[in-house]
Symmetry: C2
Subunit: 262 residues, 2 copies
C-alpha cells in the first residue's frame, strides 16, 4: 500500500525535485517532513524530475515507509493534506491523497500522460506579482502572433523523434515521444503554451516554447516545424526558455484517482 | 514640474513605503534607483505610508530632483517606465508616468479617494503561489457567509468617526473618514473585501477585514456594524488581519492622469 499525493509547489526556492546532499529540493523537504510526521524514515518517489525553478500546479508522488508494511498509515487519507500542510513550508502544498493498493504502481513509470504549461508575460511593465513565475518579454505578442504560435504548436502533435527538442548531452537512448495535444492561447493577460504527451525529453517544453517565440518573431513559420523535427538536431530548434515560465499542470495514470481532501 | 508615476510592488520584501536608515523600503529603493538613473539626488514622495508586507497594484508617487528646476526630465514620460523597469528590482514595477505642472500638487495631500482590496484564501490546501499575498483561513467561507460579510461591509459606508477601526496608539487627531464604497465578493477562488474612502486610518482596512471575519464566523451580525462604529473603541471591532492580504488598488486625484506607457 502506497499513499499517492497530489502536490503543488512554487519552484523558485527549490533546486528541482530530486534530493541532493546540500541543496533544498522538493523530495528532500517532503522526505524530511513526512519522516518527522510519521516518526520513521519515509520514501518519497516523484512522477518527474523537475529542474530548478520549475513549478508544479499538479505533481504526483508516492509516500511509504522505508520499512514498508501494511497498516502504516495512521492518518486517514482524507485528512492527510491538513496534517501535512500544517507542517510543510509555504512554497509546497498537499492538495489531495489517494491510497494505491497495486504494488506494481510507480508514480513515474506508471504515467500515461503529463501536461505542462509554459507561461509568457509580454508587457513593458512586468508585474511584480509574476516575477519568477513567467518568462517575461517586452515585445508585445499580437493576436496574429499568438495565432501563428498556435498553428506551429499543432506541428508538435503526433509520435516523433524529438531529438531537436532535447537538451544537448542528454543520455536518453529513445528520443521518440507522442505528443497528444499542443496549443497556444492568451489567458488572463499571459500567453500560454499547453502541451500533453506520453513523456517529455530533457528541456523539451522549454525548447518548444523557445521555438514558438521564433515563430512569433518571424524567424520560423508554422510550416517549418515538421522540418525542424525531421532534422533531429538540437541546433534546428529555438532557444531553451528559462524555467520560470514552466509548470507541470497534470499527470494521468491508467486509473482515475479520487483525490481525498475534505 | 513633477513626474507622477503609477507603480506596483510586492510588499513581502519591503519594510513598507517610507524610507528607513537600515531597512529595505519602497521609497528607499526608488530614491536610490532614480537618483542613479538621473545622475542627481531625486526626491520620491508617495501617496500613502504602507506597512511592511502590504502590496500595491496601483500606488502613486512623484519624482523630482532635489535641486528642482524646469527641464530636468531628459527621458520622455511615455518611455520612462521602460528605462525604470530595466534597472528596478523585480518586486517593483513602473506602470505609467504623467507630468504634473501644478506646483501645489502633492501625491498624498491631493488624494480625492483611495481604494484597497483585502484578499482572503479559504482553503485546506493553501496555494504555494499565493503565500504572502493573501490572508489564509482553513475555514471555508460559504456563499451565505460571503453574503453576510457583504451586507456588513455596507455598514461601513458613509461619513463616520472610525476610531473603532484605528490601531490603538495612533496619533491621528481627526478620526472621521468618509467611506464611499465597500463590498465583499468571491473572485477567482478568493474572497475579496474592496473599500474606497477619502482616507484611511492606521490599520483601518485590516481591522475592517477582521471584523468581517467575525461576521462570517457568527460572532457579529451585519446589523451590529453601526453599533461597533458608534462605540469609537478599538476593542469593539475585530482582529487586525495580517498585511499579506492587503493591496492598495487605486488612487484618485482631482484630475484624471493620462498614464503614458507605450
Amino acid at each position: 500500500m502506497k499513499l499517492l499525493l497530489k502536490v503543488a509547489f512554487d519552484g523558485a526556492s527549490f533546486h528541482g525535485f530530486q534530493a541532493q546532499p546540500s541543496d533544498r529540493t522538493v523530495q528532500g523537504v517532503l522526505t524530511e517532513t513526512f519522516s518527522s510526521l510519521f516518526g520513521e524514515k519515509m520514501n518519497v518517489t516523484g512522477c518527474s524530475r523537475t529542474d530548478s525553478g520549475v513549478h508544479a500546479e499538479f505533481f504526483a508522488l508516492t509516500v511509504e515507509p522505508e520499512a514498508a508494511r501494511e497498516g502504516w498509515l495512521k492518518i486517514p487519507p482524507e485528512k492527510f493534506h491538513r496534517a501535512a500542510n500544517d507542517v510543510l513550508p509555504g512554497d509546497i502544498s498537499v492538495l489531495g491523497a489517494f491510497i494505491v493498493n497495486d504494488d506494481g504502481f510507480h508514480p513515474r513509470y506508471s504515467v500515461v500522460s503529463k501536461e505542462y504549461v509554459y507561461r509568457i508575460e509580454d508587457a513593458a511593465a512586468p508585474s511584480p506579482f509574476l516575477r519568477g513565475r513567467v518568462c517575461h518579454t517586452r515585445r508585445p505578442l499580437a493576436d496574429a502572433d499568438v495565432s501563428r504560435m498556435n498553428e506551429a504548436a499543432k506541428g508538435f502533435v503526433g509520435r516523433h523523434d524529438f531529438s531537436s527538442f532535447m537538451a544537448a548531452g542528454s543520455k536518453i537512448t529513445d528520443p521518440v515521444r507522442e505528443v497528444y495535444t499542443a496549443e497556444v492561447a492568451r489567458r488572463g493577460g499571459l500567453v500560454e503554451f499547453t502541451v500533453s504527451a506520453n513523456g517529455f525529453l530533457y528541456n523539451m517544453v522549454r525548447i518548444m516554447a523557445g521555438t514558438l517565440i521564433d515563430v512569433a518573431e518571424g524567424r520560423l513559420t508554422p510550416s517549418d516545424i515538421p522540418a525542424v523535427i525531421e532534422r533531429r538536431d538540437r541546433a534546428a530548434a529555438g532557444a531553451t526558455l528559462p524555467p520560470d515560465g514552466l509548470y507541470l499542470h497534470g499527470v494521468k495514470y491508467p486509473f482515475e484517482p479520487v483525490w481525498l481532501a475534505e
